[in-house]
Amino acid sequence: MTDASIDTHDGEPSRRDFIHIATGAFAAVGAGLVAWPFIVQMNPAADTLALASTEVDLSLVDEGSEITIIWRGRPVFVRHRTGEEIAEAEAVDISTLRDPQTDDERLVPGPDGEYRRQYLIMLATCTHLGCVPLGDGAGDYGGWFCPCHGSHYDTSGRIRRGPAPLNLIVPEYTYLDDSRVRIG
């Protein structure tokens, strides 16, 4: 540290150096511990987290239509796909995709282990900047289209063209029985 300590200790660290470093390190750890609550307080609060799941009855959605439900304050698409849409989604060569995923990877199997491929559940927020895309076959790929910056999604909600980096996000959900799912 100082010339004096180097002189008396032949360049070896002195006891005072040790105390300086130890005190400094202790203060740094203390500052970090104090800062942590002030940073973490901004995360979703317990009551917000408590509202973090919702249930939906899929049998209410007719084939070829979709509903938008609210989960965690944001919209979620529940689409009952037609056979044609499913076939179109499965026919895509995933190696050509920006965010490669098969159609099945975007679904969750039911309690019997079978996929209910007609029901597609995804967050209704564009992965570019969070706008709500237009549905019901909008866009050049028959799925969804985000009007904000022109992202096109296919019938599996996968990004096909435009600035969005990822497919529409599939939330965590589980089938409670044949036609009811719990999201979250």
């Binding site: 995360n43 917000t48 965690r72 304050g73 919209p75 900047l129 969070g130 009007p147 904000c148």
Partner: protein
């Protein structure tokens, strides 16, 4: 700045105070006797105008905070109540919302002035960097404030801007959930934005004090860019520039008043008179005019992460400008080539603003039709890309190279000589002269 203080306390009380807290001396040295180049033109009045803008925003903002309710169920209605029911609320609210635009208008002119006259060059690098910090704080404050009325543009603007940060967390939502205090823009978001919108202007005021302090250490630049060499080059700040600044402030207030009284919503967006609706995105999300050039840069790049990096980069590049510009001649008055590139740079910024306001796929002009009969031609996306390239090229290629190849014109020997028409240094001598 230069020389010892010339303040002489005249009364018993000021003598007594001066020995205990020399605050009168500080004010006298800074704003009365401060030696200022005697050739400053009206572009130099924008510093004073900006001071007035800040005070206006803080005073009106404190008043608005007395009536505003930061809750998703009441925010929109409370702003409408301020506009309609609170006595003179319409006036205070219109001054505050248009004041933000006036603040940015003044700050952009202030910055273009600095760019043209080389006010970022040694020894004013720290002064310039503090100005860049001020710009970023202003943008953050303006964005937070725009969210508070909780209209459709407020909500979706907040959604889009906070989602920019999702470019850095790989879609996990760690950063965005932390920013929102939930899983989407909601009540927790509105609350914290309100808190920060109230806080940031005071941090801004603190950085502005540092900015003025740095100015008073190195002194004003001036239209010639030639350093102050003697007392003959300067006049005292008061009354010369207090009067000049005041006159400019009055003119600026006339423009301000035209907006406040005759077209208070001209710079706003109609969609912000629709209450926020998380289920419906407006057809087009457009930021306030002063952020449009940066929005255009964001959209000019097809990749989200790179777009976000370019947008932030367009601001951050200003911080290193003092080291990118290799020319030792400050004022572009004496840089015959650079001044043209500067003119193009101003046009480039305006064009980027235009691109930011328009749909990227729409046409600037049509050149033909495609097989299906749709019009084809030069789109706003192409225009935005060209201008984004020029924006970065100006800082990264043109300014670094130009300083090496350009032959500057002869500069006056001193400010005094430039004003009174004195001896000039020769052109050949100017090129090799060290920075003044």
């Amino acid at each position: 700045m230069s020389g010892p203080s010339t303040y002489e306390p005249k009364t018993g009380f000021t003598r007594w105070l001066d020995q205990r807290l020399p605050i009168v001396r500080l004010g006298y040295d800074s704003f009365v006797d401060f030696p200022t180049p005697k050739n400053l033109n009206y572009w130099w009045t924008f510093g004073g105008i900006l001071m007035v803008c800040l005070v206006t925003q803080i005073v009106t903002g404190v008043v608005l905070a007395m009536h505003y309710v930061p809750h998703v169920d009441y925010a929109f209605a409370s702003v409408q109540r301020i506009e309609r029911d609170v006595p003179f609320g319409w006036l205070v609210q219109n001054i505050h919302s248009n004041g933000a635009s006036m603040f940015f208008l003044a700050v952009y002119i202030h910055m273009f002035r600095g760019l043209y006259y080389g006010s970022y060059k040694p020894p004013r690098e720290v002064l310039w960097i503090l100005g860049c910090v001020i710009l970023i704080l202003m943008m953050a404050t303006a964005f937070l404030g725009y969210v508070l009325p909780w209209g459709q543009m407020s909500f979706w603007g907040a959604t889009v801007i906070t989602n920019l940060f999702a470019a850095f967390d790989g879609g996990t939502g760690i950063i965005t959930n932390w920013l929102w205090g939930g899983f989407s823009v909601g009540n927790a978001t509105l609350n914290r934005f309100y808190s920060l919108h109230y806080l940031l202007p005071f941090i801004l005021a603190g950085v502005i004090i540092l900015h003025v302090w740095a100015l008073h250490v190195v002194g004003n630049n001036n239209p010639t860019g030639v350093s102050v060499k003697s007392r003959a080059d300067t006049v005292p700040f008061h009354p010369y520039y207090t009067v000049k600044d005041s006159f400019a402030i009055v003119l600026f207030f006339i423009l301000f008043a035209i907006f406040v009284f005759f077209m208070p919503n001209a710079l706003g967006h109609a969609d912000n008179f629709i209450p926020a609706n998380p289920l419906s995105t407006p057809a087009e999300i457009v930021p306030e005019w002063y952020l449009l050039p940066f929005y255009a840069i964001l959209r000019a790049i097809p990749n989200k992460l790179l777009g976000v990096i370019a947008m932030f980069g367009s601001l951050l590049i200003l911080f290193i400008l003092p080291w990118l510009d290799t020319s030792r001649v400050r004022s572009m008055r004496y840089r015959p080539i650079a001044r043209w590139f500067f003119v193009f740079f101003v046009i480039c910024c305006l064009l980027l603003g235009w691109c930011g306001a328009r749909n990227p796929d729409h046409l600037v002009f049509q050149t033909g039709v495609d097989a299906e009969g749709h019009a084809t031609g030069f789109t706003f996306l192409m225009l935005a890309r060209i201008n984004t390239a020029y924006y970065f090229g100006y800082f990264l290629i043109i300014l670094p190279l130009l300083g090496l190849i350009e032959t500057p014109k002869a500069r006056p020997a001193s400010i005094d000589a430039s004003v009174l028409g004195g001896r000039k240094v020769s052109s050949s001598g100017a090129a090799v002269q060290p920075a003044e």
